[in-house]
Structures are given as C-alpha cells and as structure tokens.
Subunit: 138 residues, 3 copies
C-alpha cells in the first residue's frame, strides 16, 4: 500500500468562481504510481469546495445561483460581525457543497463516470488557495 | 492492503426515486474479502447520489420534497437552455446530497450504526445507472 | 498498511448544538500509529453530522440558523407522522451537512488547513452519540 500527497494551487479572478480541475487532479494520480485505490481531493480552506458534477460549464452558473439564494452574502451572519469584509456565506456554501470528495482510482487514473468532472468552487477568491490530493492504494 | 472494485446497476421506475441499496453494497463488501477498512460508494453519474440516513422509508419522501423545494425542476437553469428535457435540478440535488459516501468496514461487513441504511437517490431516472463500490483495507 | 478503529462519544446539552472535536479526533490519529493516509470521521447516527469548517465559533450559529431555515423542525414531515417527538428535520440537516468527512493524515496527525476545525453537529441531542474515527494508511 502506498500513500501519495500532492498540493495543487488555484487562484480565481472573481470572488465566486468555479473551475474544472480534473486534469490537474488526474496528473497527480498518474504521478503517484498508485494503480488501484482512491483519491481524496481536499481543499485546505473553508470558503472553497471540491465537488464532482456534469461536464457542462453552464451548470456551474446554476450551482452558483442556487448557493447565492440559499446562503446570500451579507445576510446578517454572526461570523461577519467581527469581520466587515464578510465571507460567512462562503463558508456556508462550502459546507452545502460537501467541501471535499473521494474518487475511485483504477489503472492509475481517476475512475470517473463518462460525464463527470472534478470542480473547484471558490467562494472567497482572488488569493492563492491550496487543494491537497491524497491518493491511497496499491 | 487490498483494493476491490465492484459495479452495481440500478434502474428506477420514476424520475425521482430513492431506494435502499444497503444489502447490495454489503454483499460487495463481503465478496471483497477485506476485513477492516472502508467502502467508498460512488455513483458514476451526476444526477444521482448515494447517502446514509435513517431506515424509515417515510424520510425518503421528506428528503425528495425538501430537495424539490430547494432546487425545483425547470426553474430557468442555464444547463436546461441547451436541453429541453431539463435535468439541471437533478445535478444540483445530487450535489446537495453529497453525491457519494464512505462507510467504515469492520469484520468483513459495512460498519453501519443501528438505524443506518445506504440509499441510492435517483434524480433523472428510468435508465440504467452504475454505482461503484470501492473497498480499501486489510 | 494499517486500519485503526476508534469510537468517540459525545453528548450535547441542547437539541441542536455544534461542538469542536478536532482535539479528540487528532488524539485518535496519534494513537493509531499511522503516519500517512486518511481519517474517515463518521457518525454512527443519522441526526448528527461531522463537517470541517472555519475555527470561528460564531460561524456555527450561522450554520445552525441556515439549516433551521432550509429544514425547519415540525414542518409536516412524513417521518414525524409516526413519531410525535419529530426529528425529521435533524435527519435532513445531517444529509445537507454531508454527514461525514475524510481528512488527510500526514506525519501522524490530522493534516488540516490553518483555520480548519472538525465539528460535530448534533441535531437531535441530549443523549449519547457515537462517532467512529477510521484511520487507513501506512
């Protein structure tokens, strides 16, 4: 059994922005030399999330809109009282998205379904953020 | 350490339908020969989710109703613009449910709490869908 | 490869209460003797969830308020029809929070981001509840 740790860095242009990171994560899996197991794809921050969904880019807008409706920015959050820039909504959105994912690894690659991509959802962006890919297997 | 990969297939009668798959997943764990570790239960699709919850069937109706309220079908989604049959709500519901789960494995079985079942939630059904069970352990 | 199983017990004073369990989980990782891998932190119940978020305690109030708005108690749930004490909202909130988490393990410790804590969110409290920490790695 092997365990491989890889850090990826992302920076978005907008405060809320969702980007496809499938290729970067798959490269980390390939370089691990692990053939069969799983990859944990884990943001080292709490106002960002990694999730798996459909390859259609338009759907990322739908998700951003849904999350803005469920947890709107600046809605009188206790967390924002001590910090006027206010990123409570970003933390809440990350929890609703599940924060991190585990994806099977087969034949040395991410074992994704046909239309699946791995997305990095940034909810308090415009600075460097770290995602750890932890691969475990044989 | 061993890694075992098993594919399960499910087809629902209704577009939205939640079914208990605990028995099928536990059978996959038993056949793996892995005694201690974890099972990743991972839909190979993005309009379906696997989650763990209470054994009461009535609760599956409550979840379906909640998700229909949070992400109603046909609510002007960007994803649906390019596809008139419109399954954007299904993708969004799968994300809100967390898409996949990891469950501990002990003594060669799923190590579930007393009232816990593993559910497959289909949000764009009436066709064959694949769930991968990936077991990792000793 | 090793697999280590540790049970932690928590009891909250209030029906809904969120507590920081980072220290207890990290102690379980240290005692496992596993250096590199991952920790699955898994409630053995379905009206409680474990999630990772920011260290600010005020944010736990914001999350409790958000969940109370999305899945209010006693809102005519089918699950509550057979049980007048009514904890359907608790089950639904646990699903929306993702129920359980996986966290990387490095150098024998939880490999958390700078501001990350592990939280236990109780949605039907005032009795003993069990959380399994399952550590897998080398």
């Amino acid at each position: 059994m092997k365990s491989h740790r890889k850090l990826l860095w992302f920076q978005t242009q907008a405060r809320t922005e969702i980007i496809d990171i499938t290729e970067e994560v798959d490269a980390a899996v390939r370089e691990s030399g692990i053939s069969e197991g799983l990859a944990l794809i884990y943001p080292m921050h709490t106002s960002a999330a990694v999730y798996v969904s459909d390859s259609d880019r338009a759907l990322t807008e739908d998700l951003a809109s849904l999350l803005a409706r469920l947890a709107p920015p600046g809605a009188g959050y206790a967390h924002d009282a001590s910090d006027p820039k206010g990123n409570a909504d970003g933390h809440l959105k990350a929890i609703l998205c599940g924060h991190h994912v585990s994806v099977p690894v087969s034949e040395g690659r991410l074992d994704l379904g046909t239309w699946q991509c791995v997305y990095y959802a940034e909810f308090d962006g415009q600075r460097d953020k770290e995602v750890q890919v932890r691969i475990l297997g044989v």
